[in-house]
Amino acid sequence: MVIEHIDAQMPGVIMDRHAFRGDQTIVVPKAEFLAVVELLHREGFQFLVDITAVDWPEREIEGKAVRFDVVYHWLNLASQERLRLKVTVSDGEAMPTLADRFKTADWFEREVFDLFGIRFDGHPNLERLLTWEDFPGHPLRKDFPLDGGDPFCMEGCTAPYNNGERA
């Protein structure tokens, strides 16, 4: 329902959409992201349930490496409709923050930054949330070792997963 509204009001903004087991997903370009969120808010999707990310290290779309999906889950409290909004970003690219509009985005974005290393432009306090300040690397990236690698930098922090640098 809401997807048709988005399509009618912002034609061409939905790059990809699919429905699986009743879950609606749309993919929008980063440039239009804030406008889509604005529109969703007007359509009654005022509850930002979750922000997370998925790492696809090898993925390329149209010749461009786009490593991450940033995934937003929305809920419409009146109609109980859910919507998944995805934005693809490449390594090192930053997302616009939602923390000024949705207070719940504050910690969720910090968590995504901590675990994936995706920065959020305009975030008031973009610090690590779950790991400590000089933790090397971002644990939920696929190239981060499962055993944790060398988190205390005992070996002089030459871990391959962080280009040999402290985060």
Binding site: R21, Q46, L77, R84, K103, F108, L130
Partner: protein, 399 residues
Amino acid sequence: MESIAMTRQQLDGDRMIVNMGPSHPTTHGTLHIVLELEGETIVKATPRMGYLHRGVEKLGESLSYQQFIPLTDRLNYCSSIMNNVGYACAVEKLLGIEIPKRAQQIRVLVSEIARIADHIVCVGVNAVDIGAFTAFLYLFRQRETAYDLFEMAAGQRLHTSFTRIGGLFRDIPEGFVPLAERFLVECEAAVDECERLLTHNPIWYDRTKGVGTITAEEAINWGYTGPCLRAAGVPQDLRKAQPYLGYETYEFDVPVGTTGDVFDRYLVRVEEMRQSLRIIRQVLDRLEPGPVIVDDYKVALPPKEKVYTRMESLIHHFKLIMHGMEMPVGEVYSATEAANGELGFYIVSDGGKNPYRIRVRPPCLPIYSSFETQVKGGLIADAVAVLGAMNVIAGELDR
């Protein structure tokens, strides 16, 4: 000659920095809050977390779908069965399978017992933190019975791992239903007793009324779910709004508060305990014999006697253990109403044996993120009351 070194007071002004936690009796888990105080008033509160971060989501990427179940126990360890149920529901949604009726009923039954156990911890311990020890003791006797029931059903009191993908790992044993019946009667009485001790108690009222108030709009903006959201006046309960496991067939009410303060959160939780008892009553009345796990050996292990006697069952057993289930490619988000609020699992499958990405949406993380605005300008004693009413469980917060 006058020293140029500044005293502590000159450096910090009149502020005092107090570390609450990481191991403090009122934080109930390894939470760490740095409080800046002016006298008794909180000027700044900075929650620090991650002391219990085990990387559950990372571990899940290298475990099969079944093997992840024990990790869900350790999320909200006060009501671990509800996490088992929430996770199993998410994988079943991904697989697109329906579980047998009896399995659904038993899942509802144990979930509601777990909800009561969780609310008992929250209400009881909140009261202890504020100084009312007695209510805690009356309630904790009932929690003991609830844990006895879990032990009967799952063989474990705390880390239950009761569900399997497609149902439950075994049926409830003989003696479970009579004990549950007894629990219904005794818990009702204990909740009454707790209400007599607290609800009209002037000290409890003074300590909780008007502390940590939040409006409905603010609560939604902060991402509140569960009793804390309902206390703010939003009647959002996934059991009613987006029913799962046949919750639409049970009769129960969703209590809501008005101001969202600690007192309302307490009232909502107490009423939810009563409503959960109502649901348990209805489940016990309609419990019918039947299978508790799907009859599909591509998903659930075949019974042992078949494995030992039949070729196909042996092959199915081997295939399931060695290669795992055949998962479709896709992504699902499945949410259940846990004791604290919306517990969501977001699973991305690439068709492999292990999930490609598994995300746990903990209900208490968004609630806890509002802690500073909730306690700012209040007294330090009120911070303890607010923290207790938020029911922050570190295992779930840090994952």
